[in-house]
Symmetry: C2
Subunit: 336 residues, 2 copies
DNA sequence: GTGAAAGCGCTAACAC
DNA sequence: GTGTTAGCGCTTTCAC
């Protein structure tokens, strides 16, 4: 039967349809009008041959790619995974494919490798998840060789970006705790991407505004278990009545530590999280938190990137504010 | 200053280094020996020009790609996200880049689009996450045009695959519950990828082996909240003393429903999950479950794919058994 | 509208 | 070892 297994090329299609190669190309790209008759012949030939154009050849000659890159720090943490999902869905809807590049540390070599991979592949553009130091470093190294959009929780100068206004939401959440009658609110921080962290900033702003004391910050890692020891320490301090955690998973760790220390949430201690993790509402007690639309963030980020690629618009910024969700993990403090 | 912004090509490098284009190519690929002197000149020119070879041109002529595809159903669910992370880490270590293609439904159009994207990009190979019907459909449609590896929880004929032996672990977990003195074990199933689901199969096998009655299965969705109503129903039935859930997130939903119905775990009801989700050990009470090494599964899958690509080996199968983790959500039933 | 010719940036094959 | 030549599969001029 001849060429079993071999992929047909555009000239196979042209031959079969009885037209020239450029005509097939025109049908494929829609770049120029083709007579209905020839168009039909070409489409028939494509279907019969199961022809698929080679992305490599197209990119090589047209210098236009339908693939975008995503540079990210960790693909499986909740916020990252959801953001990537949002990017992918938006990209897919526009016919783009997504290439993932993970950067685990801000080391020069690591970042260089990631940036090289991106540049080598002649991508249409890149979305950088700038939630952590590796993301920040990658962004800097990327230069202006191709369209780039950054995604994060804090506005910053430079490239176009989509953000979730963490500071505003953190401030509002702290206001809520203060409004319940707590003298102050303690804070457990997740690893910040830079010196200034939106969640911490908003928390501090609310305390200052209310003239409440600003207690020292507790630092957790990304591992929820790191919250357990912190929770125990917090429970042991009678001055602590309310805690705002950098994310829900840390809050869950903290609550476990509080429980191990024999205290109850929210009776002895109010705990608030951040993100609205899918398990936050199932936790006991259900967690008060700020709902972050990560998938939406990813979608807006891709939208911005698309505009940068097409040059159709010069919008460079998209911000959204997380919505607070009040559940049962926060309450008024006990009277003393 | 001339060509600002334009990417240098291999001939720019050749010119600058005073050698021919193929010599630069030899330095780049290491395909043939180059004299130390010329090699040095070439490397200097590459560094000065910040040259990066075009992946598109390379793929076009060599027909070898350093990009693999991952076809998956949902990138943000725990097991999927971890598996993808494992694939990416293993791929990165070998210099491969990962392209993600999401298939949300087993519809012909959806699957065709995903397969087309894969084929168009001339990938080195594809890893299919065959945990759900879309994955199964994609696998069938992929044909034998390029190396493919499937990842799942149940062994099956066909392409090379890496599996986590869910049935064995589920059986062992059910044995554990039965051994505690429960007359039987109820089961809440997550959406199965095919008619036969490893977790359900193992559960049933254990019950049959023990001559215990096989109660009707409860069907949950992937949303942990779907477990809540089921938990309430289970709590209302005095015959139910032990429940084995298809995954930890569903188990958490079930436990929430049980709590809402005023019953306690494990005193009134034992609940076991599956996966060892990062929050399982922080839950109250900490969850008895089967630890699945999803990242390891991804890594083994990539290893199998690499062998299929190189043809270095004809290993077609890699299986691992989840390890049971006994925590406090399971206990002996109350005496009646 | 359509075809002929050129060439994207690289590697493969073949001389020397 | 090294250079010359050819060509991967497409899109892009440019005639007609």
């Amino acid at each position: 039967m001849g060429r079993a297994g071999k992929h047909p090329t555009i000239s196979d299609v042209a031959e079969r349809a009885g037209v020239s190669v450029p005509t097939v190309s025109r049908v494929l790209t829609g770049a120029a009008r083709v007579s209905p008759a020839k168009r039909e012949q070409v489409e028939a030939a494509i279907a019969e041959l199961r022809f698929r154009p080679s992305a490599a050849a197209r990119v090589l000659v047209s210098r236009k790619s339908r693939t975008i890159g995503v540079i990210t720090g960790n693909t499986s943490r909740y916020g990252y995974a959801e953001t990537i999902r949002g990017i992918e869905i938006a990209a897919r809807a526009e016919g783009y494919t997504v290439m993932i590049t993970v950067v685990e540390s801000p080391d020069e070599d690591e970042v260089d490798r990631a940036v090289s991979a991106t540049l080598t592949h002649a991508l249409a553009g890149v979305v950088v998840l700038k939630f952590d130091p590796p993301g920040v470093a990658a962004l800097q190294r990327l230069g202006d060789e191709l369209p780039v959009v950054a995604l994060s929780g804090t506005r910053e100068a430079g490239v176009p970006q989509a953000v979730l206004d963490e500071a505003a939401a953190a401030e509002e959440l702290t206001d809520h705790l203060l409004g319940l009658g707590h003298a102050t609110v303690h804070h457990v921080r997740v690893p910040p991407s830079r010196r200034v962290d939106g969640r911490t900033t908003g928390w501090k702003r609310a305390l200052r505004k209310a003239h409440a004391p600003v207690p020292p910050v507790f630092d957790a890692t990304w591992d929820p278990r790191s919250g357990v020891a912190i929770g125990r320490a917090l429970a042991a301090d009678p001055d602590v009545t309310a805690v705002f955690c950098g994310n829900d998973e840390i809050a869950m760790g903290v609550m476990r530590g509080v429980a191990e220390a024999g205290k109850r949430v929210p009776e002895d201690l109010s705990v608030a999280g951040f993100d609205d993790h899918p398990l936050a509402e199932l936790w006991s007690p259900p967690l008060t938190t700020a709902q972050q639309d990560f998938a939406g963030l990813g979608g807006r980020g891709f939208g911005l990137l698309l505009q940068a690629i097409d040059g159709t618009s010069d919008r460079r910024y998209s911000s959204e504010r997380p919505k607070l969700v009040f559940r049962e993990s926060t309450a008024a403090p006990k009277r003393r």
